[in-house]
Point group: C2
Chain length 249, copies 2
Amino acid sequence: MGMFVKEVANLVGISVRTLHHYDDIGLLSPDQTSEAGYRLYSNENLEMLQQILFFKELGFPLKKIKEIITDPTFNKREALELHREMLLDKRKRLDTMIATLNKTIKHTKGEIFMSNKEKFEGFNFNSNPFEEEARKRYGDQAIDESNKKIGRMSPTEQKELGESMNNIYRKLANLRHESPDTKKSQAAIEEWYHLLNKMGSYSLEAFKGLGQLYVDDERFTKNIDQFGEGLSIFMSKAMAFYADSRMKE
Amino acid sequence: MGMFVKEVANLVGISVRTLHHYDDIGLLSPDQTSEAGYRLYSNENLEMLQQILFFKELGFPLKKIKEIITDPTFNKREALELHREMLLDKRKRLDTMIATLNKTIKHTKGEIFMSNKEKFEGFNFNSNPFEEEARKRYGDQAIDESNKKIGRMSPTEQKELGESMNNIYRKLANLRHESPDTKKSQAAIEEWYHLLNKMGSYSLEAFKGLGQLYVDDERFTKNIDQFGEGLSIFMSKAMAFYADSRMKE
DNA sequence: TATTGACTCTTACGTTACGTAAGACTTTAA
DNA sequence: TTAAAGTCTTACGTAACGTAAGAGTCAATA
């Protein structure tokens, strides 16, 4: 009982060397070995391998995978549910890419116009595929995620949008002594949300995290409070309220 | 006019280093450089970059990408069409993986049984993602594709199916003096087709290619003709007829 | 029973596609 | 004019294997 390396390799479509490698780094070592020292993979080994391959498909580095699956709190079922979410996300990105491709084909035919930004929709998934969803459950906090997004805006984009941003900042500054959950405040913060989504895609969660950053990270605090003292705190609250109320829908 | 490295990097979601690298290996060198030697990317450069990223998404190594796009016969539009096909294929695989995942979740709950083979459906895309579709247009012929599939059957699988295979071989050997397109012959060859699809997925095209191999490659010819002289030729014809008639449907 | 062919093992260097860091120059905003 | 941010080249580091060599195992065959 137990399968030899090549059988496993054939079954799952990977190389023998890969299995050796996984053994070498302690990611997946077979339960048993034969008399002659041949690796014998059990059914449990195979199921673990399946999990590993799911993680890999989603872009996790092997080191991280090892950390995750050897963590005593690792829950197999939970991981599978996460895999599903992430795979669905990946499919969305793929669909976006296909849409981009179709547009591009039309574009080469001269039928439509395409902005440079549009040409790369679907690729531009926020940096690492895994870093995105993974933080939610494994490691770190989701906060510096939004931090990064800000850092990735290009100078030209920043210029293009700088004006609009200033306008909204001023509008919010004028409201900052009201409560953050009035209709006016929420309408203004919604503008802010839409503006941000023009340059990167912000989930409501990320939006809320960003708001948190406004009070946690003084680089933001300083910047924002130039438009009026206490604006950062006000925005942070308004953003949280906006995100929470919309997430209930 | 022209974008700096970081602008491009931000736009498409890759690193500056990556762009440097592509320049180093001659995959994508900017049209212009500034006085100070800064790289300046034109719109055409961006479009080429888009193509490169499509190829990359599909698993092509950079070296191969370079070959392809510097080939004088390279046709941009044709490439885009190919990209679309391949992306659709990729989505299919992803869907298969998601289905596998759903099954696995049920399996962990004990609701259903799952064979080892089922556990890896979607991963087991036939070896290289790119080698598959790519051969159709770029390089080589599709023939040795089926060759590989045969080579990848594991010993145990071969044993399991060896008996059934022999039965079909014998059945076909008895028919080999009839015409390959009679109902009997076609029914037998259909059994053969279904049997093969138990162990790997054969498109009708690949099936036909395999049949061709039976007469082209003497390793096959010898083996098959053990069951009766001329069987390989007979099977080859029958397989071609079967594939052609079913492809018209 | 000897041999052959297909697997297996370990060891180890090679490769791809960048990451990361260092040191120096440029450009822009303050 | 000085700081901050961006850019350059050079170069070593890294992840995830690929590939090759030399040697032992195992089953089937001559």
